[in-house]
Amino acid sequence: MTKVTMTVNGKTVSKEVEGRTLLSAMLREQLNLTGTHIGCDTSQCGACVVHVNGEAVKSCTMFAAEADGAEVKTIEGMANADGSLSTIQAAFQEHHGLQCGFCTPGMVMSAAALLKDNPKPSEAEVREYLEGNLCRCTGYHNIVKAIMAASGQDVPAVAAE
């Protein structure tokens, strides 16, 4: 067991973890941040994406100990300070970018990372960036629309209804 300390959604937390404990497991099981989901065991679905020091990371690919000292942000930390939905979250609701909601936390975290690096992505760039995020419900159509809308671009112009 080693002790790790990190900032999660702005709060400092310290936990004892085993060397093999994944960041995703620590978030879900020790911090009860169950918005980070586990959809696979081969690092391919992206349901577990969080931000570590501002970068999108699949939290199932990182040991908790590796995040010692890091700043971690999860879906639970994405809403505005007053609890209202952030721009990206609101766009997902507005454009029906989610159905069962299981891929959604990872999608929102990936979308946020994309728009930070590329504030006005093309439709093709959005699709390419989401390569590591699987969704079985939406066919991605409305996810792409939501992300385009969140970037302030004209959705009808890029997406046929």
Binding site: I38, D41, Q44, A47, L98, R136, N142
Partner: protein, 787 residues
């Protein structure tokens, strides 16, 4: 003007707020005090005899509570099958036992043999390494046709063969169909496969079970599309727990697509073990485990023959299908290639004579059951492929050949035992051609050609049957369950409403769309209405969500219950206003006396029901709560025209889907935004099937596509933006909302449209290619072009 609430409005989904902020409560988010973790040890061979299982070393490992094997399940029933099919000769299907843990033999890779229950998952997994299992491997039964040969290795020693049933439909038509095909001007024949798929909801299955020894009550939290069905099957058939001592909760569920309908061994295991060890037991499937334990879908091999006269009128249709059941019969498996497949073989056409033969076969593979569309995609695929092939053979335009044979008069009784109530197939076809700019195709094809690419356009017109019913009929057909739905509408004193529905949402948005219906009926704000689902302790006995049945059956039950509420509320309002009940009108949440300005608000009436001071107590009871069970008179029949435009790279065989258009008739629509989302998702799964998805076994029965490294899931950059339309509306004639259901259409209509498009592209380029089996991988397409 789009409405901003009620029926027909694209109301934003209220459930999104919790899903978007990480507050959804999925089964794996549930942790009970002092819970243990179950780790399943599964067969790594397809077929074998278990000689011995030694658990002694594992029992001594740290944290281990207990190790279970089949011997712990003596006296426990097998996992039951919910549908008995009768074969061509009037005999019941062969139905093997499906034990919770393998008894003496393993029959597919993933078959559970033993389970370690420990304080932590890591400890359970470590201890599992110490369980010694000695298995003698047997030859694996994989190819369905070989499996039926005399002397073939048997999957189940106690059955007479690997044949589950040989089903003929309609058996009396057999000779007439043969004769019609023999004498026809033209017969088009096609042999094809409907590739095996894995449903892959993004949330893997999970079960958490608890037993309260003070009350003898069990609680099972599970990732299910139908918690009441699980309670019934597991309680009555497997564990012998009476329903009042068993609560099944399916909280937020992360997608189902059929794979979460069935009762699975892991649910029974956790529930059983929780009592045995006196602690809660949790099992969370890994994705690799899901690939070898979730029921698979499709896997049909078919020969289809279509007879036509010289003008292209369809005369007769004959099909011969082998359907893979896998190693055991999953809950609804026998019904999929039969009643959900044979009954759809008329499609949208007036074909007068149809005969469908299906041989269901046991193999050493994971059980196969319903996956989005269930039987109907298989029917549509073969029919729409053979119609396209016939059009090309006879030199008739594929659109025209379809139009020539469309059913235009309703109700229409097909020769395969169903009656379509409404439809307008020309309307959806027109819409498709318009939206896909069919007229401009030749110009686009010329551009592609100039760029060295082959462009093609493919069409499919599908018929769907949703809301399977009525119960007395499905009972005759072998269903061991009813197929009604239920709803309780509980009006609170201040006028807010809780609707307890037997339907279950695992992405479909019922919390929003169901509330829209009740809001419209009463004329109050949607926010006043809560939809409660997924808990047998809270909702009346209901059959759950599959087969696009929620709004057509569950929605109808809710309408009936709400009508009862309104009738009673009207009586109360009449009393309050000292008027005759016949004169009371309800509009916008106000009861008025017709022709006067007298009115009482909804909230005054509901308050009176619970504070009955001024109340007709001699005529009606206090309170305002009603339940309805709705058993539909017929299926509903959505239909639609789907069109796909592709470009094929002749150098590599790579297919690019340039555009996909879906023009559907779903009857009336409650929430267009949600409906469009359902179609998008279905299209992605259908395009996935046609382009990249494939569940493959090697010759030894090893599962080759056992993870996301080998099973290709459609990703965002595999798909185009879709064009979807639902403006063609012929309302269902037999349910109160006139709705038909939209959940599966996308997955049904899209595979044949896509394959037709690729064949079109190749034929236009002069290749003599009439069919390519799915998925249309570059190597297959290239090989077809270069053979």
């Amino acid at each position: 003007m789009p409405k901003d609430g009620g029926i027909g409005a694209s109301s934003k989904r209220r459930e999104d707020l919790r899903f978007l902020t990480g507050k959804g409560k999925y089964t794996d988010d549930i942790n009970l005090r002092d819970q243990t973790y179950a780790y399943f040890i599964r067969s790594d061979v397809a077929h074998g005899t278990i000689n011995s299982i030694d658990i002694s070393a594992a029992m001594k490992m740290p944290g281990v509570e207990r190790v279970f094997t089949a011997s712990d399940f003596e006296g426990v029933g097998g996992v039951p099958c919910g549908w008995q099919v009768t074969d061509r000769h009037g005999q019941p299907m062969q139905e093997p036992k499906h034990p919770v843990l393998a008894e003496g033999k393993v029959r597919h890779v993933g078959d559970p043999i033993a389970v370690v229950v420990a304080d932590s998952l890591a400890e359970a997994r470590d201890a599992a390494e110490q369980v010694e299992i000695d298995i003698t491997e047997l030859p694996a039964v994989l190819n369905m046709k070989d499996a039926l040969n005399d002397g073939a290795t048997k999957v189940h020693d106690d059955l007479t063969s690997n044949l589950c049933y040989d089903w003929g439909f309609v058996e009396e038509n057999r000779d007439a169909v043969d004769a019609a095909i023999k004498g026809a001007h033209h017969v088009t024949t096609l042999e094809l496969k409907n590739n095996r798929l894995v449903a892959n909801p993004m949330e893997p299955r999970v079960a958490v079970a608890d037993f309260d020894s003070s009350t003898d009550e069990y609680t099972l939290y599970t990732t299910s599309q139908n918690p009441h069905v699980i309670r019934l099957l597991m309680g009555a058939f497997v564990l012998g727990i009476p329903e009042h001592k068993l609560r099944v909760v399916a909280p937020d569920v992360g997608g189902g697509f059929g794979a979460k309908i069935y009762h699975y061994a892991e649910e029974a295991f956790c529930t059983f073990a929780a009592k045995q060890i006196g602690r809660p037991v949790k099992w969370t499937s890994s994705r690799s485990e899901a690939f070898m334990s979730d029921a698979h879908g499709r896997d049909h091999v078919t020969k289809i023959e279509l007879a036509l006269d010289k003008d292209g009128k369809f005369l007769a249709l004959r099909t011969d299908t082998h359907a893979n059941m896998g190693a055991y019969l999953s809950t609804f498996a026998p019904s999929i290639p039969t009643w959900l497949h044979g009954t759809l073989m008329a499609g949208n056409y007036t074909t007068p004579l149809i005969y469908v033969n299906v041989k269901a076969v046991f193999t050493n593979t994971v059980p196969v059951d319903a996956y989005r569309g269930a039987g109907r995609p298989e029917a549509t695929f073969q029919l729409e492929r053979v119609v396209d092939k016939a059009a090309r053979e006879m030199g008739i335009d594929p659109v025209e050949l379809r139009r020539k044979n469309f059913i235009t008069e309703f109700p229409y009784a097909t020769p395969v035992a169903v009656e379509y109530d409404t439809g307008d197939y020309h309307a959806t076809m027109d819409k498709l051609l318009e939206l896909s700019d069919h007229a401009g195709f030749e110009a686009r094809a010329a551009t592609s050609k100039a760029n060295g690419k082959l462009r093609g356009f493919g069409i499919a017109h599908y018929i769907e049957a949703c809301g399977i019913a009525p119960s007395n009929l499905v009972g005759q057909l072998g269903a061991r369950a009813g197929l009604y739905e239920s709803a309780t509408v509980r009006v609170n004193a201040t006028g807010s409403i809780s609707v307890m529905t037997g339907s279950h949402s695992h992405g479909q948005g019922h919390e929003t769309s169901f509330a829209q219906v009740v809001a419209e009926m009463i004329g109050i704000d949607e926010s006043q209405i809560d939809i409660v689902h997924g808990d047998t302790a809270k909702t009346p006995m209901g059959m759950g969500t599959y087969g696009s049945r929620s709004i057509a059956v569950g929605g109808s039950a809710m309408v009936r219950a709400t009508e009862k509420i309104i009738n009673k509320a009207r009586k109360i309002a009449a009393h309050l206003m000292e008027a005759s009940e016949a004169d009371i009108e309800l509009k916008d949440g106000q009861f008025t006396v017709a022709g006067t300005d007298k009115s009482v608000a909804w909230g005054d009436v509901t308050l009176a029901a619970y504070v009955p001071h001024n109340y007709p107590l001699e005529d009606i009871e206090p309170g305002l709560e009603e339940t309805a069970f709705y058993d539909p008179a017929n299926f509903t029949y959505p239909s639609g025209a789907y069109g796909c435009e592709v470009e094929v790279d002749p150098e590599t065989g790579k297919v690019t889907v340039l555009g996909f258009t879906a023009a559907d008739d779903f009857g009336n629509i409650i929430n267009p935004m949600i409906v469009e989302g359902q179609v998008h998702g279905g299209l992605a799964q259908g395009i996935g099937q046609a382009m990249i998805e494939n569940c493959a076994y090697d010759d030894d029965g090893q599962l080759l596509s056992g993870s996301y490294m080998d099973y290709a899931m459609p990703r965002a950059d595999d798909l185009p933006m879709f064009t979807v339309d639902h403006s063609s509306v012929t309302p269902c004639t037999h349910n109160p909302l006139g709705v038909k259901g939209c959940g599966e259409a996308g997955a049904i209509g899209s595979p044949p449209a896509l394959v037709n498009a690729v064949v079109d592209a190749l034929q236009r380029a002069g290749h003599d290619v009439t069919h390519i089996d799915m998925p249309l991988s570059p190597d297959r397409v290239w090989a077809a072009m270069n053979s």
